[in-house]
Symmetry: C2
Subunit: 286 residues, 2 copies
Amino acid sequence: MSLINNLTVIGVGLIGGSFARALKDKGAVKEITGVDIDPLNLKKALELKVIDRAETQLPASIKEADVVFIATPVRTIAGIVKQIAPFLKQGAVVTDGGSVKSEIVELCDRLIPEGRYFVGGHPIAGTENSGVEASYADLYKGKRCILTPTANTDSSALEKIVKVWEAVGSEVVFMDSVKHDKLTAAISHLPHMVAYTLVNTVGEYEGCDENILKYSAGGFRDFTRIASSDPKMWRDIALQNKKPIIEMMDYFTEHYSELKNLIVNDDSDGLEEFFARSRSHRESIL
Amino acid sequence: MSLINNLTVIGVGLIGGSFARALKDKGAVKEITGVDIDPLNLKKALELKVIDRAETQLPASIKEADVVFIATPVRTIAGIVKQIAPFLKQGAVVTDGGSVKSEIVELCDRLIPEGRYFVGGHPIAGTENSGVEASYADLYKGKRCILTPTANTDSSALEKIVKVWEAVGSEVVFMDSVKHDKLTAAISHLPHMVAYTLVNTVGEYEGCDENILKYSAGGFRDFTRIASSDPKMWRDIALQNKKPIIEMMDYFTEHYSELKNLIVNDDSDGLEEFFARSRSHRESIL
């Protein structure tokens, strides 16, 4: 017996497409309906057999769904839940992959009607690529997926979503949505803000009369990878998780000022200590 | 006929060891003498046959050398040149791999006696690892090596060093040493300062009551790689290239403030443009 009879994936890009592919690979789903704002991407998803059926209208796409996975930009998720809520069948579970959670979870708890359920989720996985062609079945394998249940979350709906993520190879962790947003601001959003800033800084530096980017080596290229992530997606994340991101950006500024002062003051011991601290933080995660 | 009869490598670590291995592989050198401040590393270099002969005394190590390659921390290079200068044989060429050039080049031009030559160099290659065991023959293959000749540089000595770097697979570029230091501050030193700061910021954040580092995904791990580079080496680089690094750090701060203001002001279009600019800088180097 399949884990899910009818799955609807709203937004069949890297995240939604990889979710669909993984569940198909595991035989965990009978039929997948895909919806996408981009007709070409949707057509491609069908051609690649990532989905079985393509729909362009939201209400029509979810009428038969047992599980709905929303993998669209974070800013659009609550609006989509609002649109589909009246058409969900009895017992349907809606979940999402948005990387900012507290606002979405709060809104969706209120939007979902009696007898239908919402479970907020965020798989900690991704690449700098987007679109269904970038999706692949192993994206979630060995990765963490954070679920953010609230006091209102139905326990059997939660259990179902846990099983789905475990089926695609993820380790599920429960977390309060506010804490989640602070954590992702630190571990993901700040690094992206810093990488984007760095690439713009170096790319726009005109102080040495040379196309300096062509001299870039490994270190700089590491940064450019994440700084080439989808601008629209990151615009939405920056707006949606504004407060925790600004808090982390200010915290970065404190450390950056500390480092600059060490250089200005030729503080040899202080510099070595600053750099060594960094190495030991890294060792703690290897 | 070998390109070099007697080569002395001072500092047989990642840079010096890889240089030695590559030249041996190409049959471009007859005999390599290695010197290192760390006796265990030197012993290992001999065991691994990266060098043919180990020396612990600087003057003794370079007496027969046709070419001397100094691959020690930048802060020590001019001092080493001063120590060996009186013992260099007629026609010997000294070069280095230091990633900061203007001060070294200026000092060494004055330190080298008549009939012996100095050519400043900087191979744009490296990894986060150090020591002779991390060295490998292909490190310089397909990479750029910047040489920083001055008005005093002997043309046949320069030609010799060009041939040596070409032999190990590098593309040689000539550049003024001051310009070089600005370029490396932008493309390499600033990214390292930013990465070290980011890793300390995230590693020391206590606002979410959780070991946040264990949730780190690809983006953050990219940063930690360069932020685990040798603290002593980066201490020296930060001190040696102080002015250009501070200039770049301030320039980064301008861009960072621009981004923070966009978020504070919920400037959706401005954010998308900021992130899209970054992507287009990246595309220009792929």
